[in-house]
């Protein structure tokens, strides 16, 4: 058991690949598995800031939502091919994160949460009012991707298996890239900034710059997650941009364990699985999730995956 666990922790990319491989077989329906992939990526992207740089953001809804809208607009209004749509979403998330970060990294610590939350509301109202492009209150409808054209191949994206495979491969690629980045000198710089700002500064790091770079990177991953979310749901609800969606990433990261690489992904899986079970029995799912989250903060701050890692290592 310990050896298996140890292998898993030491090879995050292979571990994630294994997880993505078995996920559709342990979830009741494929659509839930796709949601877990997408939100898992979103929570991982969020955790670049929270877990690795040590800044709590409540503005990540703007990155997920911006990515989703950009992808949707590229498909619905511009009629771009699917690859370009996903790229558009990723770039939009990156750009919004850069702008938001440039303002927010001027503050520190606890203010980061308040400022990012406030800035994400700008995105919310902005997209809300740009109705001709975004559908306003009703959200962006008709994000229908039916066939995936890959050179020499045409895939039916409406088939659950195809959809899961395509999104699974993209998410796995993103996870591998993120693991590589976190293992790089830049990953070490982020940890240095988190652990001791003054010392990191003394070592010659531009703390603000590292934070801004991390935020921008975080935006790329969340933007990609947003693009995949839009393609999966065929609609972008305006609520995607609301700061309560940022709160979902916060909860997922903490349920899973924000101090581990894979924790947020596990948190997303547990969160969405619980939601699918609880919300069929009672409409008061928010009460359940609120109580569970408060209990985790009080009693199990390491999260599910974090506790597992600590126990089995």
């Amino acid at each position: 058991m310990r050896a298996v666990a140890d292998w898993f922790f030491r090879h995050p990319v292979l571990g994630a690949g294994f997880f993505i491989l078995i996920l559709p077989f342990i979830t009741p329906y494929t659509a839930l598995a796709v949601m877990i992939l997408v939100y898992g990526l979103y929570a991982l992207g969020f955790n670049i800031m929270y877990g690795h740089v040590g800044l709590l953001s409540f503005g990540h809804s703007a990155l997920l939502g911006g990515g989703a809208y950009a992808c949707g607009i590229a498909l619905v209004h511009l009629g771009l091919p699917w690859g370009a749509c996903i790229l558009a979403g990723t770039l939009a998330g990156t750009l919004i994160a850069f702008v938001m970060g440039a303002l927010a990294v001027r503050t520190r610590g606890i203010y980061f949460a308040m400022v990012t939350l406030a800035l994400s509301q700008v995105a919310y109202f902005g997209f809300y009012q740009a109705e001709p492009w975004t559908g306003g209150e009703n959200g962006l409808r008709g994000v229908n991707l039916r066939t995936l054209g890959i050179p020499g191949l045409s895939l039916d994206f409406t088939t659950p298996a195809v959809r899961y495979t395509v999104i699974g491969l993209l998410v796995w690629g993103a996870v591998a890239l993120l693991a590589r980045i976190l293992a790089s000198p830049f990953g070490a710089a982020m940890l240095a900034v988190r652990e001791n700002e003054a010392r990191a500064k003394a070592c010659g790091f531009d703390v603000r710059l590292v934070r801004l770079q991390a935020m921008t990177l975080s935006g790329a991953f969340c933007g990609l997650a947003g693009a995949l979310l839009a393609l999966h749901l065929s609609i972008v609800p305006i609520e995607t941009l609301h700061y309560t969606t940022s709160g979902v990433a916060v909860m997922m990261a903490i349920l899973g364990g924000s101090n581990t690489f894979f924790g947020p992904f596990v948190g997303a899986a547990v969160f969405l699985f619980l939601e699918s079970v609880v919300s069929t029995r009672t409409e008061h799912w928010p009460l359940v999730v609120g109580v569970v989250f408060v209990l985790f903060i009080l009693l199990a701050r390491q999260g599910i995956w974090g506790t597992l890692v600590a126990r089995l290592r």
Partner: protein
């Protein structure tokens, strides 16, 4: 004569409307700042306490009380919930990372909102100002809704009372000392835990008062605290976290900004306050009245 295409009287009246809106922000920001200044806790549930204030008003009215009973009863009820939250939940997190109390209170917002939905339903409820406060009054340059004037007056009175309490009483002295150096205050034999408890109750009570004052202006719904939280954060960042004067000035400034932009640039009115915050962040990251270094 017109300014920017509007008669000056209208502009002044609109600024007054902004002050009434700002008065609600001031009560929220002062409560938020008081709690942060003492406990270094960002109360993410502040919007939820605001919402609870409005529903506590609905509850007291249904129980046979009138609006004046609400004005006194709501802050006490909501403050009591705040006392409970500090004593049994937030207190456990002192000494842990500064994010943890924020996260805990974030979780509590879900609990509060859902409990209110269970108790009063999902739909918005009307909330009327008492008859004596309805109608308009001539303030020299035009007619102004009496209730908005009343909100400004109540806020001014509460702030005056708060100032006297903090600056002129023995207990206020302990609060000021505790905000500066809790360790020394504790060494001098003061039970700092009890001061923190009361400050949390006071701050949340102010949020409750803001909620019941805002109820006749915007109606009552379980989600009413969600947007207000973002607005209270903007006011706090603009004014400088932990600064009561900053909260007052920024609250009024933000209120007037929102009201003026609604008149001059209606399509910008939702984001005007956030742009104001962005400008302040660029020019003075610690906020108008924040201590330099706290945020730099």
């Amino acid at each position: 004569m017109t300014i920017l295409g509007f008669p000056p009287d209208l502009l002044v009246l609109q600024a007054f409307t902004g002050l009434a809106l700002g008065a609600v922000y001031v009560l929220l920001a002062v409560g938020l700042s008081l709690i942060f200044g003492m406990l270094t806790v960002v109360n993410f549930a502040h919007g939820a306490f605001f919402m609870l204030g409005a529903y506590a008003g609905v509850f007291l009215l249904a129980a046979g009380g009138n609006f004046w009973v609400c004005l006194v009863g709501v802050p006490l009820l909501v403050g009591a919930v705040g006392l409970f939250v500090e004593r049994f939940l937030v207190r456990r997190l002192y000494g842990r990372h500064i994010d943890d109390p924020l996260l805990l209170t974030f979780g509590l917002t879900y609990v509060f909102v859902e409990l209110v939905r269970i108790g009063w339903g999902k739909q918005a409820l009307p909330f009327d100002a008492p008859e004596i406060l309805q109608g308009t009054v001539d303030i020299g340059i035009g007619y102004f809704p009496l209730y908005r004037l009343f909100v400004i007056g109540v806020t001014a009175a509460v702030l005056l009372g708060l100032w006297l309490f903090i600056e002129r009483t023995r207990y206020g002295l302990i609060i000021r000392a505790g905000a500066r150096d809790p360790t020394i205050v504790r060494v001098l034999g003061v039970d700092v835990g009890r001061v923190w408890l009361l400050v949390f109750g006071l701050g949340t009570g102010l949020a409750g008062l803001a909620g019941v004052l805002a109820a006749p202006l915007q109606g009552v719904s379980p989600e009413m605290g969600t947007t207000v939280l973002a607005e209270a954060f903007v006011v706090t960042v603009v004014g400088g976290m932990g600064s009561l004067v900053g909260g007052i000035v920024a609250g009024l400034l933000v209120g007037v900004t929102v009201a003026m932009s609604a008149l001059l640039l209606p399509e910008m009115s939702k984001v005007a306050m956030f742009l104001l915050m962005a400008v302040v962040l660029l020019l003075r990251p610690q906020g108008l009245f924040g201590r330099a270094g706290l945020m730099s």
